[in-house]
Amino acid sequence: MRRTIAILLQNPLSLLGVTLVTIVVLSAIFADFIVPFPDHKGAVVDFANFNKAPEWPYIFGTDLVGRDMFSRIVYAYRISLILGIVVLAIAVPIGVTVGLVAGYLGGWTEYALMRVTDVFLSVPPLVLAMSIMGVLEPTLLNGMMAVTAMWWPWYTRLVYNITRAEKEEGYVLAAEVIGASKLHVIFREILPNCVPAIITKMTLDLGFVIIIASSLSFLGLGVQPPTPDLGSMVADGAKYLPDSWWLTVFPGLAILAAVFGFNLVGDALREILGADQ
């Protein structure tokens, strides 16, 4: 662990990644203390200062009802991160368990589970989430459900492949010979070998969840106003291009910076943990 961190901090690119992730996470946690206008996360109207180009104290400008873009972006990070963490916290255990069971048990269980997984994987991810959101009311909670529903199969696929390779390994056979239960073999013997790959994928996925969630809200199918969201900010601002460029450019770059950070860290982890699939 200490070695991993040391290597992370040595390479300039992964250092940049760690820095970006740290800034995003800290600003999301301490948003109330950082932003100049904490109340602008809600339905505040300040027509005296609406649609202003960046100028002090509005370093990213103001939106069409006069709210500080910088404050709203920082709060949007908070929502994106919560969404990402919740989605992964639900999707990963489900996906991993299904993958382990399908890979280890084989036979009809494997066939049935993997075909169900295939079904989920054969709808373009965004389209699946969209159709779920279309049926449900567009709220943060439903957004999480929709993204979770499309996310778990990717972990099933990943863990399934590792499990199939690992179950022929000596240590698994040894455990079986001494009569270990299936549960023991699956969760105590095989699962630990999947962990590096899972952690790497989770780091990369935190970025992708942000992308998918912002895509949903960009289409108006995600988080609803007045809750700040990077995707809907870009969508709202796109109508006022190119004159009010700050309405789209800053939220867009905010997505890019956060996801880029997670990807840099994920890439570095993949190299360090040797978790190439």
Partner: protein, 341 residues
């Protein structure tokens, strides 16, 4: 039976099973909808009798299994029902909007392959040196933003700031082209109107590129990763020992074996563009499935939602089959059954 035909048959069979699964999944999702679709369709002024009649007509009064049975029976006749939003057959709506989306996705796919693979090759060939570092940085940036962000940035830079490309649409208003295939790039050529073809091609560049950016990054990263692995293989050292130029070793001896594992995932990404096309279409006012899809979702237009998702999934599966066949074509192990001499 040749191995390729066997593979095709197998893939088609699997896809059919998956498609049935998708139809059940999406049907189930659509039926857990809160609220009465018949009531929504008829509006608040409808009488209870009218609502009840529509419910019966739509089989909404029966169990979900029966409803699914009716749905499949209709589907087999090529009938996806009537959109409650446009009051037209869903299949007609999709037929009208899908070609524009497909045209955009195909153009982006060509860019993804045409730019992403060469970038990956360069990266692997100059591993550890500046071209590699540059490509890795750029491709990682490419996959780090949703396509609507790239769409907005590209539009700002190359349509507003440097007015090189048109801001929106598929073709300038001055041209009126008869729709034959629905693909403007083909229809303009059928009409023999070269100027219109050029205009349509000019219109598609920015949206397609915005859609392709993350695919290009993904393709470059995958190609590089697989080629770096291939470079350690004995047959590359053998090629070096024969003094083949570096460029030939990269483009011919290392690239093709590396392409086989990369292509599967590149194919998935290519197909995923069908979803992301929604985002780009929204920015560039591209008259594809996006506006229709979002509109029917917001209106809870069941038939249209189910139909749209099914058609997109079927297209996605067809694309995957094409990719599998491509892989079979470049991978002699699949094309020829193994028979050691």
């Amino acid at each position: 039976m040749s191995p390729v035909v066997r593979l095709l048959a197998h893939r088609l069979g699997m896809s059919l099973i998956v498609l049935v699964g998708v139809s059940m999944l999406i049907f189930a999702i659509a039926r857990i909808i809160p609220g009465d679709p018949a009531r929504i369709a008829l509006g608040p002024n409808a009488t209870p009798e009218q609502v009840e009649n529509l419910r019966q007509a739509l089989h909404l009064d029966q169990s979900i299994v029966v409803q699914y049975g009716f749905f499949v029976a209709d589907l087999l006749r090529g009938d996806l029902g009537v959109s409650l939003y446009t009051n037209r057959p869903v299949i007609a709506d999709i037929a009208q909007f899908l070609p524009a989306t497909l045209e955009l996705v195909l153009a982006a796919g060509i860019m993804m392959i045409g730019i992403g693979l060469p970038l990956g090759i360069i990266s692997a060939r100059y591993r550890g040196r500046w071209p590699d570092n540059l490509v890795r940085l750029v491709s990682l940036l490419g996959v780090s933003a949703p396509s609507f962000v790239w769409a907005v940035i590209l539009m700002l830079l190359f349509a507003f700031f440097l007015p090189i490309f048109p801001i929106a649409g598929r073709i300038s208003d001055i041209y009126s082209i008869e729709a034959v295939t629905g693909f403007l790039l083909i229809d303009t050529l059928i009409a023999g109107n070269v100027a219109a073809f050029g205009d349509a091609a000019w219109h598609i560049v920015l949206p397609a590129f915005a859609l392709a950016v993350s695919g290009i990054g993904q393709a470059a990263r995958l190609t590089r990763a697989n080629m770096v692995e291939t470079y350690d293989k004995p047959y590359i050292e053998m090629a070096r020992s024969y003094g083949f130029p570096d460029r030939r070793i990269a483009n011919r001896f290392a690239f093709r074996p590396s392409l086989i594992p990369a292509l599967t995932i590149i194919g998935l990404d290519f197909a995923a563009m069908l979803g992301n096309a929604f985002l780009v279409e929204a920015v560039f006012a591209w008259p594809g499935l996006s506006r229709y899809g979002v509109a029917v979702i917001l209106r809870k237009d069941l038939n249209a939602i189910v139909g749209t998702v099914l058609i997109i999934s079927a297209t996605f599966l067809i694309m995957n089959i094409i990719v599998d066949l491509l892989i079979a074509f470049i991978n002699p192990r699949i094309r020829h059954s193994q028979r050691p001499a």
